[in-house]
């Protein structure tokens, strides 16, 4: 997909999504209250999946999505309950809070690499949870906080709120894809030493990616608060908010905006269906998807499709620039392109 058709498709999908609630009277099966409720859950996960991928493009795996998401939920709840922020401002405050915390911790933890970075982010998420759990009256302790009033009770208004968070995430992600940030992050991922010697400010770009992705996760948390109306340490920092976006991004195809978005929509619908049928353990699907995707299609669904269209384009040109490795031929932006750790 070249960049212009990408923009066109993205704009069309977005316009359709905006119009969807307007059809709720005529098409209750796809635009009634229940589908809209499912859709806004998917939007929250979509924003998380895209934001996780934005940092992953630099080769850093964050297991702390739930941490910054939870900070967002609490940031929004506390700013409106304790400081009287209006709802829309509390969502921005949630993002700002998560971004600020990310910037502070980032000063230190962005110097870590690979497993050490991942485990640290996982540990940070737990630390956040314990702090809010033990925060006494200010944070509501183990019971958490309940919001007396929300931005709106109408399904379509909440839907639009969630949709705007998605729009912010997608715009930020495509800004990453279309600006020089993309080259910096790809260079860092492929070979950090080489990137450094080419004059790329490694720390600066990692910090941008970390802060922006945490901001989006915080905003998603702020939206989540408006949807569910409560913040509690166990629900807000639930590991599922790390697990699901990660599986979504991997299934859809990492290192792109479209991949995680496609993955979020597919898995969101699948999990909603499974949740009704299998109350316990429907998440096993996510575990299996992660394993299968990592082993057999590291570029995800979007990567498969991209590989196929690339081959077709080559065939059209008389096959002079045919790829040799099939759909998994690693381009500059794929997992497989990274050099193997052991030689």
């Amino acid at each position: 997909m070249n960049s212009r058709s990408g923009i066109v498709i993205g704009a069309l999908v977005f316009a359709a999504a905006v119009c969807l609630p307007l059809l709720s009277r005529s098409l209750p099966a796809i635009a009634g209250p229940y589908p809209l409720a499912v859709a806004r859950d998917i939007f929250v996960y979509l924003a998380l999946a895209v934001s996780w991928d934005m940092l992953f493009r630099s080769g850093q795996v964050s297991f702390g999505i739930a941490g910054f998401f939870g900070l967002g939920i609490y940031g929004a709840a506390l700013s409106s309950l304790r400081f009287g922020f209006p709802a829309w401002l509390s969502i921005l405050a949630a993002g700002a809070f998560a971004a600020l915390v990310a910037a502070l911790f980032g000063l230190v933890i962005l110097r870590l690499r690979a497993i050490y970075f991942s485990i640290t982010t996982l540990a940070l998420a737990e630390i956040f949870r314990i702090i809010f759990h033990n925060g006494g009256d200010f944070t509501g302790g183990a019971e958490g906080l309940i919001m007396p009033s929300l931005i709106s009770n109408s399904d379509s208004a909440l839907y639009w709120v969630a949709l705007s968070a998605v729009a912010a995430a997608v715009l930020a992600s495509s800004w990453f894809e279309r600006s020089k940030i993309r080259f910096a992050l790809t260079a860092i991922r492929n070979n950090e030493l080489q990137a450094k010697s080419s004059g790329i400010g490694i720390f600066k770009y990692l910090m941008i990616a970390f802060v922006v992705s945490s901001f989006i996760q915080g905003v998603a948390g702020g939206v989540q608060l408006q949807i569910y109306g409560a913040a509690s340490p166990d629900d807000s920092f639930d590991t599922n908010f790390t697990l699901l976006p990660l599986a979504m991004a991997l299934l859809g195809g990492v290192h792109s905006t479209a991949g995680p978005a496609i993955g979020a929509v597919i898995l969101g619908i699948v999990s909603e269906t499974l949740k009704l049928k299998i109350p316990y353990g429907h998440l096993v699907v996510y575990g299996i998807i992660i394993v299968v995707v990592i082993l057999f299609m590291p570029n995800g669904l979007y990567g498969l499709w991209r590989g196929r269209t690339a081959r077709r384009a080559d065939a059209g040109r008389g096959g002079e620039r045919r790829h040799h490795g099939g759909p998994q031929e690693p381009g500059p932006g794929t997992v497989g392109a990274e050099e193997a750790r052991r030689g």
Binding site: A114, A123, I127, G281, G287, V335
Partner: protein, 317 residues
């Protein structure tokens, strides 16, 4: 910060060990004067942590994989033991042997089907792969047996002893014994047996080992199955004392990783010392009223601190 291949036989420098040892002794005496039971319970908890972490250290030291599904393997073993106890009437301490064998076969299957395919993949892929394996394991158990927590009530686990004015539970020393047996046994295995020596060589340099005729893949498979077998033993022991539920293993994956990271890749003695520090710190915190709620944070703070200290030290080196 790349993980360096190091020998799995401990190589701590003697002076550092002396300083750390004397500092540890001072702390131990202080705790003993303050509350002797803290020392006992801290030691018992340290045994549990160490015995669970040692198999992970083994896999990391030789196969060079961080197994993020480590705790979940233990959870599966605990469930197997539970059913062996309920359906066949076996005592968990008897059932641990067949469970361990079943688990090592399972570990072998997991190695052949998944881990082996990712050995040449980037480290990140391995990380996400084992993370996904862990989720698949815990959620399969959740699917089969729901999230309800189960436990066995065994009368021998409540045995206690009284020394002077203090009485304390003695059963948990079984974890300390397990940790020491694991550490000692692995050391003997790696230095005295043919397979162990081969595994050690593979851990130090897989290519070199292959050149001198060692079957690297077989060594990896063996070590991974051995590790899962050991964690199978621990699953049975764990069940004797604690309630089990599908996500019970997760925190132990984290704790094991923390200890392994603290000790440095392949350093099993270091895992023992790290567990001691972590166990004592946690138990000491729970014994101070003002700090009780915060005792669960200790471990996470320690893990971040160790990782940062390691990062700084490696940068200097």
């Amino acid at each position: 910060m790349q993980m360096k291949r190091k020998t799995i036989v401990p190589t701590t420098s003697s002076t550092r060990a002396l300083v750390a040892g004397s500092a540890g002794l001072v702390v131990a005496i202080a705790i003993f004067l303050w509350k002797p039971t803290v020392l006992v319970y801290g030691l018992q908890r340290a045994g549990l942590y160490a015995a669970i972490a040692i198999p992970m250290a083994l896999v990391l030291g030789i196969v060079h994989i961080v197994n993020l599904s480590h705790g979940e393997f233990m959870m599966v073993a605990a469930y197997l033991t539970y059913f062996a106890a309920k359906l066949l009437g076996l005592d968990p301490l008897v059932a641990m042997v067949p469970v361990s064998i079943v688990m090592s076969v399972f570990g072998f299957a997991v190695y052949r089907l998944t881990i082996r395919r990712a050995l040449r993949a980037p480290e990140l892929n391995q990380l996400i792969l084992t993370f996904g394996l862990g989720i698949a394991l815990s959620q399969s158990i959740n699917l089969l047996f729901t999230s309800q927590s189960w436990n066995l009530s065994l009368d021998y686990v409540t045995s206690s002893a009284t020394v002077g004015n203090y009485s304390f539970g003695t059963y948990d020393f079984v974890f300390v014994v397990a940790a020491i047996v694991f550490a000692g046994g692995l050391r003997l295995f790696l230095t005295r047996t043919r397979m162990g020596k081969a595994a050690l060589a593979v851990g130090q340099n897989p290519r070199g080992a292959a050149i001198v005729g060692i079957d690297v893949d077989r060594a990896y498979a063996f070590v991974f199955s051995l590790s899962v077998g050991l964690i199978g033993l621990m699953g049975a022991l764990f069940l004797t004392k604690q309630a089990i539920f599908p996500t019970v293993g997760g925190p132990y994956t984290m704790k094991s990783f923390c200890l392994v990271a603290m000790a440095g890749v392949g350093n099993i003695t270091g895992v023992l010392w790290g567990s001691l520090a972590l166990g004592l710190a946690e138990v000491a915190m729970t014994n101070v009223r003002a700090l009780r709620d915060w005792s669960s944070i200790v471990f996470f703070v320690i893990i971040i601190a160790t990782i940062l200290v390691r990062a700084i030290r490696e940068r200097k080196a």
